[in-house]
C-alpha cells in the first residue's frame, strides 16, 4: 500500500512538473502578443519575418526574397519551410499580426517537439517518467521558453532533428522501409532548415547507431548487423547531399546580389566555423561552462550538483547515458565555434541535451531516491526561474529598439510602398525595412569603396529599377574611414539631392515630404 501511494505521488509530481512547464511556456507566448519582434537578436528575427512578409506580397516561394540588401532581392539562407508555414497561418488567420503568426508557428514546433521526445523516451526504462520530467524541465528552461516564442526557425529545426532521432530509435526497434524513409526525410528537413541545429542531433544519431552496431555485431558476428547502422548513415548522408544542392542554389542567388555575395556559404566559412584558436580559447570555455548553462538551467553550479549526484547515485549504464548527453551538448560548440560564441540563441540547438541530461538524473532517481530527485527538481526549477529573471524577463516587458520603430514609422509616412529605401548605419539588419514595409538597400559599414562606387554607378539596378523614396543616414563608419569617405560622400550626395532631410531619433532621413 505504501509503495502504491509513493507511486501515485511520483506520478503527481511528474504531471505537476510537466504542467508548470507548459503553463510557463504559454504564459511567455501570451506575454509576447502585441509586441514587436524587437527583443533579443531582433536583426535575425526580422530577417526571417521580412521574408514571410514578401511571400505574402506575392514573392517567390523557393527563391524567397529578403529585400534588405538591394536587388536582386532573393538572398536565401535556410530552406523556408518555417517561413511557408507562417505565411499560410497569417493568410488563414488575418486577424493575427504577422509577428504573432510567426511566434505561434515557432511555439507550435517547440511544443510539437514533445512528440518525438515521447517516442524517444518510450525506448528507455521508465519512459513515461523520463518523458514527463524531461519535457516539463525543457518547457521550463528559459532559453527554450523564450526563443520558442520568437520569430525564428530554431524550434522547427529542433522539431525535425528530434523527430529524426525518434525515427532512428523506432527503426532500430523494428526496421522497415517506412522507417528508413522517415529517417531520411526528417534528417533532410532538419538539415535544410538549419544545419547548425542538426549537426548535434546527427552526432546523437551516430551514437545510437554505434550502440546498436556494437550490441548486434557483438552477439551475432554477422555482417547483416551492419545494414541497419549503414541505413542510418545513408539517411544522414542523403541530408548532406540535399543540403549541398540547396546551398549551391542559394549561393548562386546570393552571388547575383552585390552585397549578398558577401554572404555565400563559402564567404561565411570562417564566420560559421571559427578557427582553431577559438576552439582552444577561454571565450569558448566560458560559453560552454558558464554562459549557456546559465541561460538554459540557471547556472553551471546546477550542472555541477547534478553531475556529482549522477556520479554517486546512477548505475554505470545510466551514467553512460548522462555523459553521452553532456557530450552531445558540448560537441556542436566545436563545430560551429564562432557562431556559438557570438550568438546566444544558437544554443537552442544543443542545450536540449544539457537540459535532458539533468532531467534524466532526476527522473532516474525519482522511484529509488524520491527525496533526492525532488531536491534536484527544486534546484532545477529555481535555476530556471533565476535564469529567466536574469537573462530574459526584461526583454519581455521593457521597450526595445524604439529608434528603429521610429524610423520605420517615419518611412511608412514619407515614402510610397513601391519605393525603395537606402540605409547607412543600419548594418544589414532588417528591422527598419521590415516594419517600414519597404524594400531596402542597406549599405553595411564593412563594405569597401568598390561597393559604394558600384552602387553609385548603377543605382537603379540595385533598387530593382524602383525609385528611391527615402534615405536613412545613421551614425556609421563609412564616413569616418579615409578608405571609404570619398565614395560615401559621393553616393549620399547623389541619392539625396532631390530629397529633403529631417531628423528622426539620432538619424537623418531624406524623403520627398
Amino acid at each position: 500500500m505504501k509503495s502504491l501511494a509513493a507511486a501515485r505521488n511520483g506520478i503527481r509530481i511528474e504531471w505537476m512538473i510537466f504542467s508548470i512547464g507548459l503553463v510557463f511556456c504559454l504564459y511567455l507566448l501570451a506575454l509576447s502578443f502585441g509586441r514587436p519582434i524587437l527583443d533579443q537578436y531582433s536583426f535575425r528575427q526580422t530577417q526571417t519575418a521580412i521574408s514571410v512578409y514578401w511571400l505574402l506580397k506575392g514573392g517567390p516561394w523557393v527563391a524567397y526574397q529578403t529585400p534588405a540588401l538591394g536587388a536582386p532581392w532573393s538572398i536565401p539562407f535556410e530552406f523556408p519551410i518555417y517561413q511557408w508555414l507562417v505565411a499560410i497561418v497569417a493568410k488563414l488567420m488575418p486577424f493575427l499580426t504577422l509577428d504573432d503568426a510567426g511566434r505561434i508557428v515557432s511555439e507550435a514546433f517547440f511544443l510539437g517537439t514533445l512528440w518525438p521526445l515521447w517516442r524517444i523516451a518510450s525506448h528507455l526504462p521508465n519512459g513515461r517518467t523520463q518523458f514527463l520530467i524531461g519535457a516539463g524541465i525543457l518547457l521550463l528552461s528559459p532559453l527554450y521558453a523564450f526563443w520558442a516564442r520568437s520569430f525564428m526557425m530554431e524550434s522547427a529545426a529542433v522539431f525535425f532533428a528530434a523527430w529524426f532521432l525518434a525515427a532512428e530509435l523506432d527503426f532500430f526497434a523494428s526496421p522497415s522501409v517506412s522507417g528508413v524513409a522517415e529517417m531520411t526525410l526528417t534528417a533532410a528537413l532538419a538539415a535544410l532548415i538549419k544545419i547548425t541545429t542538426f549537426v548535434g542531433f546527427s552526432f546523437a544519431g551516430g551514437l545510437i547507431a554505434v550502440f546498436y552496431l556494437l550490441r548486434d555485431f557483438g552477439t551475432t558476428r554477422s555482417l547483416r548487423s551492419l545494414i541497419h547502422p549503414a541505413l542510418c548513415a545513408f539517411a544522414v548522408a542523403a541530408s548532406v547531399v540535399v543540403l549541398w544542392f540547396w546551398v549551391s542554389y542559394s549561393d548562386s542567388l546570393k552571388s547575383a546580389n552585390l552585397i549578398g555575395s558577401l554572404y555565400t556559404g563559402k564567404a561565411l566559412e570562417a564566420w560559421n566555423f571559427g578557427n582553431l584558436a577559438q576552439r582552444k580559447s577561454l571565450d569558448l570555455f566560458k560559453v560552454i561552462v558558464l554562459r549557456a548553462p546559465g541561460e538554459a538551467v540557471g547556472s553551471w553550479l546546477v550542472v555541477l550538483i547534478f553531475s556529482a549526484v549522477a556520479l554517486i547515485k546512477l548505475n554505470r549504464k545510466q551514467l553512460a547515458i548522462y555523459s553521452a548527453m553532456l557530450l552531445l551538448y558540448a560537441a556542436p560548440f566545436f563545430v560551429f565555434t564562432n557562431l556559438h560564441i557570438v550568438h546566444h540563441y544558437y544554443q537552442f540547438a544543443n542545450s536540449i541535451f544539457l537540459v535532458l541530461a539533468l532531467s534524466y538524473v532526476a527522473a532516474s532517481l525519482i522511484k529509488s531516491r524520491p527525496l533526492i530527485a525532488l531536491g534536484l527538481l527544486a534546484i532545477l526549477v529555481g535555476g530556471d526561474l533565476y535564469a529567466y529573471s536574469k537573462n530574459f524577463a526584461n526583454d519581455l516587458v521593457l521597450p526595445n529598439r524604439q529608434i528603429q520603430m521610429m524610423l520605420a514609422s517615419d518611412l511608412r509616412n514619407t515614402t510610397r510602398p513601391d519605393e525603395v529605401i537606402v540605409g547607412f548605419g543600419l548594418q544589414w539588419s532588417s528591422e527598419v525595412p521590415y516594419y517600414s514595409t519597404r524594400r531596402s538597400l542597406l549599405i553595411p559599414d564593412y563594405v569597401g569603396a568598390n561597393v559604394l562606387h558600384a552602387v553609385a554607378a548603377d543605382l537603379m539596378s540595385h533598387t530593382g529599377y524602383q525609385p528611391v523614396g527615402g534615405v536613412v543616414v545613421c551614425p556609421n563608419q563609412l564616413g569616418r574611414s579615409p578608405a571609404t569617405l570619398g565614395a560615401y560622400e559621393n553616393l549620399v550626395h547623389m541619392i539625396t539631392r532631390d530629397l529633403k532631410p529631417h531628423t528622426v531619433g539620432t538619424c537623418l532621413v531624406y524623403s520627398r515630404s
Binding site: D170, A173, S176, R401, M406, A408, D418, V473, G505, T506
Partner: protein
C-alpha cells in the same frame, strides 16, 4: 525495468511519421496553390503588420534654467556615461549648430554607484556666464545590451540608453558644455565626457549634413 515500447508499436509509429510528413507536404502544396493564387508580386495584398504605436519622431524638449528645474544641488562627479551621437553623427568633436534649431542627442548612462539604471535623467548645458545654464529632462530611454554587457552584465542595468530632441530656442549663442545629470534618491550625479556644442546666432536651417559630410 524494460523499455515501454514494442517493435509493433515502433513500426506503426514509423508509418505514422512518414504519413504525417507526406500529408503535411501535400497540405502545404495545396494551400500554396489555393491561398496564394498569384506567382507574381501583388503589392495590393494587405499584411497585418502594425507599428505598435511608434511615433515617427521624438517631441522636442525646450531646456529650462538649471536653477529653476533642479534647484540648488551639489552633484557627485562620475564617469559612467557617454553622449555618443548628435544629429546622426558621432559626437567626437565639438559641434556647431544655429540658434533656434533642434539637436538630436543620444548616448548611455549607468548609475555605477548604485548599480542601476538612473530613473531621473537630464542633459545640462552650461556656457559659464550668467543666464546660460540650462537643463533638459530626458524622457526617452531604451535598452543598451551592448553597454550592459560591457559593464559586466548587471541585471539591473536595463534602460541605459537615452535620446533627446533638444530645442535650442531659449539658448543664447555661446559654447556650451554638455553634462549628463542623474539622480538616485536625493543624491545627484554629474557625468562629463567632454562634449561641447557651439550655438551660433544664425537662424535655423534645415540640416545639411549627413555622416562625414559638411
Amino acid at each position: 525495468m524494460q523499455p515501454t515500447t514494442s517493435s509493433n508499436l515502433s513500426r506503426t509509429r514509423s508509418r505514422l511519421g512518414l504519413a504525417i510528413i507526406l500529408l503535411a507536404g501535400l497540405s502545404i502544396g495545396t494551400l500554396r496553390l489555393t491561398l496564394f493564387d498569384s506567382f507574381h508580386a501583388n503589392d495590393a495584398s494587405t499584411v497585418n503588420l502594425p507599428l505598435y504605436g511608434a511615433k515617427p519622431s521624438l517631441p522636442p524638449v525646450i531646456p529650462g534654467p538649471t536653477a529653476t528645474a533642479l534647484g540648488p544641488f551639489s552633484p557627485t562627479d562620475v564617469r559612467s556615461c557617454n553622449i555618443e551621437h548628435i544629429n546622426g553623427e558621432n559626437f567626437d568633436v565639438d559641434k556647431t549648430v544655429s540658434a533656434d534649431t533642434r539637436v538630436a542627442l543620444d548616448g548611455w548612462v549607468a548609475d555605477a554607484v548604485n548599480r542601476s539604471s538612473p530613473s531621473d535623467l537630464w542633459i545640462e548645458l552650461t556656457a559659464g556666464s550668467p543666464g546660460t545654464d540650462f537643463v533638459a529632462p530626458v524622457h526617452f530611454r531604451f535598452q543598451r545590451p551592448d553597454v550592459r554587457d560591457a559593464l559586466g552584465g548587471e541585471r539591473h542595468y536595463t534602460l541605459l540608453g537615452y535620446m533627446l530632441n533638444l530645442d535650442t530656442t531659449p539658448m543664447p549663442a555661446g559654447r556650451y558644455h554638455l553634462l549628463v545629470i542623474f539622480r538616485h534618491g536625493t543624491t545627484y550625479y554629474r557625468c562629463d565626457n567632454g562634449r561641447y556644442l557651439n550655438v551660433t546666432a544664425e537662424h535655423r536651417e534645415e540640416p545639411k549634413t549627413s555622416m562625414g559630410m559638411h
